[in-house]
């Protein structure tokens, strides 16, 4: 455990040092706003166009899409962060082998890198939500936010994504070449299969089945319920409104445990495979 925290601290420190090289807090705030905001705006435009041309069930899905997209921006960042650290350290910096021969914990280090990524970009979420509430009239009000639910759901969700990120890092560790796509591909695919963009009821049946099996679907739903009073209103036909919030929490908790149970031995296995194949230092061209 001590080795874990030691390595975690170094990973977090390195992440902050190398990924947050802003000299000016104003830049930081702008940076935090720009990316998720432009995403949110694009989604809003698309949605408005679709609703004008397509049918009009009357329900305005903007809050659904907006919250989903903004929260997902953190998912995408965290999910890819550890696999990215493995690649960067191994291939670009040539440092992974020097980390691997220290008596510290590779997990701890990778968790630290992931933590850095999330914490650097975290401010973006409340800032963009505020922007949404003030400018786009998204019905998020400080007085109606369910704070305890928000806290619990955020923590469980981040834990699930962290374990998922660790699995991707493990896979990357076992792949010799062209491993760069792993994190990207998964976070791209999940964008579709988590109901971030649109209610899962619009998906074909088989896609709905997959989506319901992905824990992050429940995380996004939980975040919507915490932030937006009307989230469970049947008019939105989200396909999840029947699920009670306590069951949703149970699903999240179960998922977190399951992900831990999968990812920890997988990481160990990945390190072993990498040592078997000699992949920890990959600066030679074999």
């Amino acid at each position: 455990m001590q080795r874990f925290w030691q390595a975690f601290r170094v990973g977090a420190w390195l992440g902050w040092k190398t990924e947050s090289n802003w000299t000016n807090p104003l830049f930081y705030i702008l940076w935090s706003l720009l990316l998720p905001m432009s995403n949110g705006l694009i989604m809003t435009m698309m949605l408005r166009v679709l609703q004008r041309t397509g049918n009009a069930s009357g329900a305005d899905l903007l809050p659904y899409v907006f919250i989903g997209t903004v929260v997902y921006s953190i998912v995408a960042l965290l999910l890819d962060s550890m696999a990215w650290a493995v690649l960067e350290d191994r291939e670009r910096m040539g440092m992974l082998k020097y980390i691997a021969i220290t008596p510290s914990s590779m997990y701890g280090y990778l968790w630290g890198r992931g933590f850095a990524k999330v914490s650097i970009n975290f401010l973006a979420v409340p800032l963009t939500l505020t922007f949404g509430a003030l400018v786009l009239d998204i019905p998020i009000r400080l007085s109606t936010i369910d704070w305890p639910l928000l806290l619990v759901v955020s923590l469980l969700g981040l834990l699930i994504v962290t374990f998922a990120a660790q699995i991707l890092a493990g896979v990357t560790l076992m792949i010799a070449r062209h491993a760069g796509f792993v994190g990207q591909a998964v976070s791209g695919a999940l964008y579709l299969f988590t109901g971030a963009l649109f209610p899962i009821t619009v998906l074909p049946n088989w896609m709905q089945v997959i989506t319901r099996a992905v824990p992050l679907t429940y995380w996004l739903e939980g975040m919507r319920r915490a932030l937006w009073v009307d989230a469970q209103n049947p008019v939105y036909n989200t396909g999840l409104n029947q699920l009670s919030t306590s069951n949703l929490l149970l699903i999240l908790l179960g998922s977190a445990i399951a992900m831990a149970v999968i990812s920890i031995p997988l990481q160990r296995r990945a390190e072993h495979r990498a040592k078997e194949k000699g992949l920890l230092d990959m600066n030679t061209a074999y």
């Binding site: 001590q2 080795r3 030691q6 390595a7 601290r9 170094v10 420190w13 390195l14 040092k17 190398t18 090289n21 910096m93 040539g94 440092m95 082998k97 020097y98 980390i99 691997a100 021969i101 220290t102 008596p103 510290s104 280090y109 072993h272 040592k275 078997e276 000699g278 920890l280 230092d281 600066n283 074999y286």
Partner: protein, 329 residues
């Protein structure tokens, strides 16, 4: 507490499987290195030096045999091994470009759980030794490859390892920097009794000058292992000549090898002339070699009798020179 052996391997094997072929990189390596030794691996590119180091530093699993470092098994007690080792490989430009030299070094002391104050003091000392003190606050991306390599060497020493692995540490360094590194490595061993260094090199002279003992490795097997003096002494009964000639044909070399009493001949082709290293049982055989030279229409430019070097030992064992085997590796 010092173990009996800093490094001990028994019948160490490693094969690499690629799509095209299965390659036996190590084929039964037996090693026994005592604490306090500066042990050298001398061999051409592709001999298996890096593979050995990678197994001993827990980066690569052996395909067979056993290896212990500081008394711990590399396979089953990797964590314990890691507490006692560090490693530096030369000829690469590694490092986090956005961090300063000091930050890069400090970071690695933290992986070992070193106290920050102690770490910084040691960083200062070693930066001084390697002539990098004025670069402590420079971003690594601004450093030349040579300077990065010096930083990397400091990283290796920083944690005060019991066994330090140096894989071709002077590869790509200028003469001055290479000398500093060698001198300090020796000094570190002399002032820290019990510390052990394993160094690989394909520079004959580096192995000769620096190492207490040298293992000559080629094709994944150790051909000889002894002190440089003893290795050279094995050639004492023989005589070694260096000849410069006008370019000679392969037929000449073959003819010379046929002569009884010729231990080996190796050729290094230069501009307009060849350098030949000749190991003979006896001075008296030299005239026969020279007459072959005439038979093959080549001229003698100069001739020198000299002391055997490790290179000669290598040639005698392998049948061709270090640089020749590199060309074919």
């Amino acid at each position: 507490m010092q173990p009996e052996y800093a490094i001990r391997t028994v019948n160490l094997q490693r094969t690499y499987k690629t799509k095209e072929r299965v390659l036996k990189a190590l084929d039964g390596v037996d090693l026994a290195v005592r604490p306090g030794e500066l042990f050298g691996f001398l061999g051409p590119n592709g001999a298996g030096k890096t593979t050995t180091i990678k197994i001993l530093t827990t980066l690569l699993l052996p395909s067979g045999g056993t290896a212990e470092v500081w008394g711990f098994d590399v396979l089953h007690e990797a964590d314990a091994v890691r507490r006692h080792i560090n490693m530096v490989s030369g000829g690469e430009s590694s490092g986090y470009g956005l961090l300063t030299v000091r930050e890069n070094l400090w970071m690695f002391t933290q992986f070992h759980g070193m106290d920050s104050k102690v770490a910084n003091k040691r960083i200062d000392e070693l930066l001084e030794v390697m002539g990098l003190a004025d670069r402590a606050k420079t971003r690594v991306s601004f450093l030349s490859t040579g300077l990065r390599q010096k930083m990397n060497y400091i990283r290796g020493l920083l944690t005060d390892p019991d066994v330090l692995f140096l894989d071709e540490p002077t590869l790509g360094l200028d003469v001055e920097a290479a000398r500093t590194l060698r001198t300090y490595t020796r000094h570190w061993l002399d002032t820290n009794p019990g510390k052990t260094v394993v160094l690989t090199t394909h520079y004959m002279q580096e192995a000769d000058e620096l190492c207490d003992r040298v293992a000559i490795i080629s094709g994944g097997t150790i051909l000889a292992c002894d002190t440089p003096t003893s290795l050279k002494y094995s050639l004492q009964q023989d005589v070694v000549f260096r000849l410069f000639t006008t370019p000679v044909a392969p037929a000449f070399l073959q003819a010379v090898e046929q002569i009884a009493g010729v231990q080996s001949i190796s050729q290094r082709s230069g501009d307009q002339r060849d350098e030949l290293s000749l190991i003979l049982r006896d001075d008296a055989i030299l005239p026969q070699v020279l007459s072959q030279l005439a038979n093959h229409n080549a001229g003698l430019l100069s001739l020198e009798k000299r002391q055997p070097t490790l290179e000669d030992v290598f040639v005698n064992l392998v049948g061709h020179s270090l640089s020749e085997s590199e060309a074919t590796a």
